[in-house]
């Protein structure tokens, strides 16, 4: 009975790592679809969402089943409750990747992102994917330094996000309003995606230390 229980907990953890890897990869493909104006790839990202939804539903069902059957307390209870929150973070990331792909589809065959912002969007996407890969690692290792280090990559994302606004507000912006709107939304999608990845890591920190990671980060050199 105890053994089956810890197996169930472990399998929930594995499902979270699986979801994190998957949504990271989906964001990468969504960004390719966006930057290459690739309709087929965009469509495949859009339809991939139901798979992530299935994973989430399955994970949540298992978490609730563990609560019902095993009635965990203390740390185990916190692990299960936190898993539910993480799966919600990850499902949201899949929706954000889907938004990126939908924008690629909407503008196809045109490019949604003008040349002078391609690098910024690409870097935001890469950082967001890296943060998600790191969140997946932190789920496995529970390495607090690794988790805290993510705050720096997230700062870089915020910086890139601000640089998009500066670029848009520049008098030399000549791509028109439609592109400004697209780029505004894209910036927000990547920023939110990264935020959810950091949130997953913060929840791990909270599990391990019982302290909220935003406070920890603030006192960290």
């Amino acid at each position: 009975m105890r053994e089956a229980y810890h197996e169930e907990l472990a399998s929930i953890g594995e499902a979270l790592v699986d979801m994190a890897n998957r949504v990271g990869s989906v964001l990468g493909r969504a960004t390719s679809a966006l930057l290459d104006a690739d309709l087929q790839l965009a469509d495949s990202v859009i339809s991939a969402h139901s798979k992530v939804e299935d994973l989430q539903r399955d994970l949540d069902d298992r978490a609730v089943a563990v609560l019902a059957r095993q009635q965990p307390v203390a740390t185990d209870l916190r692990v299960v409750v936190t898993s539910l929150r993480m799966s919600a973070d990850l499902e949201r990331c899949a929706v954000l990747a889907q938004h990126v792909a939908k924008l690629a589809r909407l503008r196809h065959p045109a490019q949604a992102v003008p040349q002078d912002l391609r690098r910024t969007i690409l870097e935001m996407s890469q950082l967001a994917q890296r943060l998600m890969a790191q969140a997946a690692d932190v789920l496995v290792t529970r390495d607090l330094d690794d988790a805290r280090q993510m705050e720096q990559d997230d700062d870089r994302i915020d910086e890139l996000h601000r640089s998009i606004f500066q670029h848009l507000m520049d008098d030399r912006w000549h791509h028109g309003v439609e592109t400004a709107v697209d780029v505004t939304l894209l910036g927000r999608y990547y920023e939110r995606f990264a935020d959810h990845a950091v949130s997953v890591a913060r929840r791990v920190v909270f599990l391990v230390t019982g302290e909220h990671a935003d406070e920890l980060a603030a006192t960290h050199p």
Copy 2:
């Protein structure tokens, strides 16, 4: 013991209603601050967020305590788990209202919203507040028709959201890129707020029927 337990469950339900009422009201004040370019009101909305965060943390602590102490099963377990999700929805709404207020502060003393979009923004805000008020009611009454009816108001929000984009893409748009960016983000904040309100109601439907409300809504006349 049983009585104390049901009191705790009821008090979690009350806390959710309290949070829903509060975030609805915060969005109303944020919109006033935005449309009146009222810096003081904007600041009060921004600082009100910590109060909602406190409410959420308190609610989540109580929900986890119920799981640990009472080890509910079946319906009661689903109620507690769903409460955790709803409190996350509501906290997110408070953040979105805060974003609206921050934009008012950023543009002060100028108006962030041009005259020709004031009515649309006002209507989005009012609908979003109404949806949240309805979600609070549904939390109390568990009235499924009421919950399903919310989908229609949400459709209207989506329609207004699309009308903002059409307006921005119109050749006669003469407010420049900065305002286009602001209005794009505002549209998204209200749309997301409404979405979370609908999500709260859908979770109630799921609690009552065991079926996901999006599927129900699809087959509903």
